[in-house]
């Protein structure tokens, strides 16, 4: 994974035309997701996970934490993934664990993107001392290796409960998005429609919230997806190495117990492989959606089509008028 561990991604130029209003932008995104096959697959997978997280009891009838069964049962209809060393039903544990993973993904994704919008856009638009000082903070966070930093923080905190993990990841990992949004906002700063708003005498806050931010909706959505993906990877990794709360029901925690009991070596491979596979699938869903957004934002990257069907026109073209 272009994992968090190896932070500082190269800056990608983002070329997008400003749109009118965020409702329109979201409409455009919705259409784009339907028309792009990669995005559709990603959206469907993500949707399934969300349903599981909301209603885990519908498909899993066992308790995720009770040592209710004999240890190390094989795969059967009663125990779809068997039971682990402690006699816990693995399937139930993973189903119930989905909620924790998604809570972390969405909370961190929203929070980091929010902070990044605030800092990136405000800095770019306000300019001057504000911009300079916000910039230094962003730059510093951008180059400090995040995963080791998170390990150090979690170690001093003596293991992170879910809120601690969310807080630590949020506070450290907004910088890349802030940088991206700032460059995008800088290109907008002297556009006519903002000039017009200024002449109308609108307040700065109004201009930033109503005029600047909506034009960047697709970039913001893409950033949210990236941040959510990294949140999942960071949090699960921390839980995996034992820096989470070992009593939380989560995929990372399941991995931790599996590793602790040498599940691979003692003939319980599913215990270790299944939660990792779920992380991989969820990560892939985020990545597919994101890849599709890249194609939407940068038409040059779209797959070349030999014959163009009616109505299957690439999105983003001819809709601006």
């Amino acid at each position: 994974m272009a994992m968090p561990v190896s932070g500082v991604p190269t800056e990608t130029p983002v070329s997008q035309a400003p749109e009118l209003g965020s409702a329109r932008a979201f409409g455009r995104i919705g259409r784009a997701v339907r028309l792009n096959r990669k995005a559709t697959i990603g959206a469907v997978i993500l949707g399934i996970f969300i349903l599981i997280a909301l209603f885990p009891f519908v498909i899993a009838h066992d308790s995720p934490t009770q040592d209710a069964y004999p240890a190390q049962l094989g795969i059967s209809t009663a125990h779809l993934l068997g039971t682990n060393h402690y006699g816990q039903d693995l399937f139930a544990q993973l189903v119930y664990g989905t909620r924790n993973v998604l809570i972390i993904a969405f909370t961190v994704g929203l929070a980091t993107t929010g902070i990044a919008v605030l800092i990136g856009v405000a800095g770019a638009y306000l300019g001057g001392t504000w911009d300079n000082s916000l910039n230094v903070v962003t730059d510093v966070l951008l180059v400090i290796p995040l995963f080791p930093l998170l390990i150090v923080i979690a170690a001093y905190a003596h293991g992170g409960t879910t809120p601690v993990l969310i807080l630590a990841i949020t506070l450290t990992s907004w910088s890349y998005t802030a940088r991206q949004l700032r460059s995008q906002a800088l290109t907008l700063r002297n556009r006519d429609f903002l000039e017009a708003a200024r002449v109308r005498g609108e307040r700065r806050l109004y201009i930033i919230v109503v005029e600047v931010i909506p034009t960047m909706t697709s970039l913001i959505v893409a950033s949210f997806l990236t941040n959510a993906l990294y949140a999942v990877l960071f949090a699960s990794s921390l839980q995996f190495i034992g820096l989470g709360d070992p009593n939380t029901v989560s995929w990372g925690t399941t991995l931790y117990w599996a590793q602790n009991n040498a599940a691979l070596q003692t003939g319980e491979p599913l215990w270790a492989i299944a939660p990792g596979a779920l992380i991989a699938i969820l990560g892939a869903a985020f990545a597919l959606l994101n890849y599709a957004f890249d194609e939407i934002g940068n038409p040059a990257l779209r797959p070349v089509r030999k014959t163009r069907k009616k109505g299957a026109q690439p999105v983003g073209r001819g809709q601006r008028g």
Partner: protein
């Protein structure tokens, strides 16, 4: 030159921030974690080591926070990172020194391989745009890049280590039978042990190189000088490598310089899964045994490596691409 100096200034500043974080984090946490650590190791430490620890973590001292801070900076800048607690009485620097070569060897070689192979696949994939290769390779690695490193490592351990028994899956060599040194068997065992972790790294990092190269190259392929080269009737291999790829490789090259900085920290979880005796595994061991001096030392080392690599990448970009010099 001024640009390089300015960047250098920024990196020294960032380093100072990292040092300051190292200083304040243990002090800010509820119930100074160092206190627990000190009482745990009480009686096993020499008075001198205790003193150094007290300066590092601000325990049992009546000094003000500010003078503690300067004492700490002085100690770090003179190269004294304290004594490792889990491997007492070895100093933190010597403990790190014993682990770092394992990481350099394993992650360094895997990084170079991934870069070379990935860039090449990216070039070919962009050149044959829309071909079978191009429709399979990039999306595959987009997905793979979202897969956690450590999971790939686990799957490799399960398949090639435990099921097929092709490669050993734990450690850096056979601790019980090998005698580390310059002998052929040891050398062979080291390679064998490095194979699976290196493969895990290669699989998970190669995608970024492929995609960056492919996407930049697609842009260059549309340039006039490429059309010009085609019009001249140059052989396509020449156009592919000397015209298109050469102009598209810059983002990958700077990315490569940067990734060398992450060699030290990039494989923490892989080393963990394989119990590989490198820096990352050591960091996690330091965490679990509450060996905070070692942990701090490793975090600083990792930060310095990354900062240095980014600095190199910046200077490299400025040297290779004149446009970035004027733009700033």
């Amino acid at each position: 030159m001024i640009y390089a100096l300015r960047r250098l200034g920024f990196f020294l500043f960032t380093l100072w921030i990292a040092l300051t974080l190292n200083f304040f984090l243990p002090r800010l946490m509820p119930g100074n974690p160092a206190l627990a650590m000190m009482s745990k190791f009480h009686g096993e430490l020499s008075p001198k080591a205790v003193n150094a620890l007290e300066i590092l973590f601000g325990v049992n001292t009546k000094e003000s926070l500010l003078s503690q801070y300067f004492g700490y900076l002085h100690q770090i800048l003179t190269g004294n990172f304290g004594t490792s607690l889990s491997q007492y009485p070895a100093s933190v620097s010597s403990v790190i020194g014993s682990a770092i070569w394992w990481t350099f060897g394993l992650v360094g070689i895997a990084t170079i391989l991934a870069f070379a192979l990935g860039t090449f696949l990216g070039i070919v994939s962009a050149w044959r745009r829309g071909s079978k290769l191009d429709s399979v390779v990039p999306p595959t690695f987009v997905i793979v890049s979202a897969v956690p490193y450590f999971w790939v490592a686990m799957v490799l351990v399960l398949i090639f280590g435990l099921t097929l028994h092709w490669f050993p899956s734990q450690g850096g060599y056979y601790v019980t039978t090998d005698s580390p040194g310059l002998n052929f068997i040891f050398f062979q065992d080291v390679i064998n042990h490095a194979f699976l972790p290196a493969a895990a790294l290669l699989i998970t990092t190669i995608g970024t190189w492929i995609l960056t190269m492919r996407n930049t190259m697609i842009t260059t392929l549309a340039e006039d000088y490429v059309r010009m080269a085609r019009a001249k009737g140059l052989p396509s291999r020449r156009i592919m490598f000397d015209y298109a790829a050469r102009n598209a490789i810059l983002p990958n090259l700077t990315g490569f310089a940067m990734s060398l900085g992450f060699v030290v920290s990039g494989a923490i979880l892989i080393e963990y899964v394989f119990n590989y005796p490198g820096v990352g595994f050591m960091l996690l061991q330091a965490v679990s045994s509450e060996d905070y001096p070692l942990m701090q030392g490793l975090f600083l080392l990792i930060t310095v490596a990354v900062l240095f690599a980014i600095l190199v990448a910046d200077v490299l970009t400025a040297l290779l691409d004149p446009r970035t010099r004027t733009a700033r």
